[in-house]
């Protein structure tokens, strides 16, 4: 199992570093699995990061990502140092166009599991994906 970390500033521009980091972090799973899965993983992690930037009032101004990649799955944690931001109510999927709130709904459909924990003064999001 390969463990890799990424620390970036909590800005929309800086979180673009997630994609190249994922390419490196997922490499042990092999090119075929990675190219099939990486688009969905990138989007899900990006949504969690954006959610944090929007809501967390992150005291330390950085986001830390840790990926643990096994042969057929990967667990990605994101840690921020912000306030506890309330998980939004999942929106009904009725095709009615709304402006806000699709982020977590998208993540829940892309990841095998999504968990949020409050650990001391940090938010820890744990996402798992099949590869």
């Amino acid at each position: 199992m390969l463990t890799t970390e990424l620390i970036v500033a909590n800005s929309f521009e800086a979180i673009r570093g997630i994609r190249p980091w994922l390419e490196e972090a997922l490499a042990p799973a092999g090119e075929a699995r990675v190219s099939a899965a990486i688009g969905g993983i990138e989007l899900a992690v990006h949504e969690i990061a954006t959610n944090s930037i929007d809501h967390a009032n992150n005291a330390e101004d950085t986001l830390r990502f840790v990926a643990e990649t096994a042969a057929e799955s990967v667990t990605i944690r994101m840690i921020d140092h912000g306030d506890c931001y309330v998980t939004q109510e999942p929106l009904p999927l009725d095709g009615e166009p709304r402006v806000r709130g699709y982020g977590l709904l998208i993540v829940e459909q892309l990841a095998t599991s999504v968990e949020h924990e409050r650990v001391e003064q940090t938010n820890v999001w744990t996402l798992t994906f099949a590869l």
């Binding site: 800005s11 929309f12 521009e13 673009r16 994609r19 688009g39 969905g40 990138e42 989007l43 990006h46 949504e47 954006t50 930037i53 999927l93 009725d94 095709g95 009615e96 166009p97 709304r98 402006v99 806000r100 699709y102 982020g103 709904l105 998208i106 459909q109 892309l110």
Partner: protein, 102 residues
């Protein structure tokens, strides 16, 4: 063979062609471009998404906002030739049913 041509007028559509990553960082610039088009009297917009490699929910929110504005003004905002990343997010959110997609 005889050929005769008739023209049926329709409002000019303003098209916005996007290339690259359409994420939260780009959302304000897109909103400005869209608002500028509407301020110039265009209520029929087409957003061309063939070359968009990444799109997230913030970008989607801007498209929804734009679509609602255009429809309220009696026009529409259509999505043209969405790339695969755009199709995926439209399907995940079921907004593929809400937009005009060409």
């Amino acid at each position: 063979m005889d050929i005769s041509v008739t023209e049926t007028p329709a409002p000019t559509t303003r098209s916005l062609t996007l290339r690259g990553r359409f994420d939260a960082h780009e959302a304000p610039a897109f909103r400005d471009a869209l608002d500028a088009a509407m301020d110039n009297g265009h209520h029929d917009l087409a957003v061309v998404l063939t070359d968009v490699e990444f799109v997230d929910s913030t970008a989607l929110a801007e498209l929804v906002r734009g679509m609602k504005r255009c429809r309220e003004a009696g026009g529409d905002l259509a999505l043209v030739s969405p790339s695969d990343p755009v199709r995926v997010i439209l399907e995940l959110t079921k907004l593929d049913a809400a937009f005009t997609i060409r």
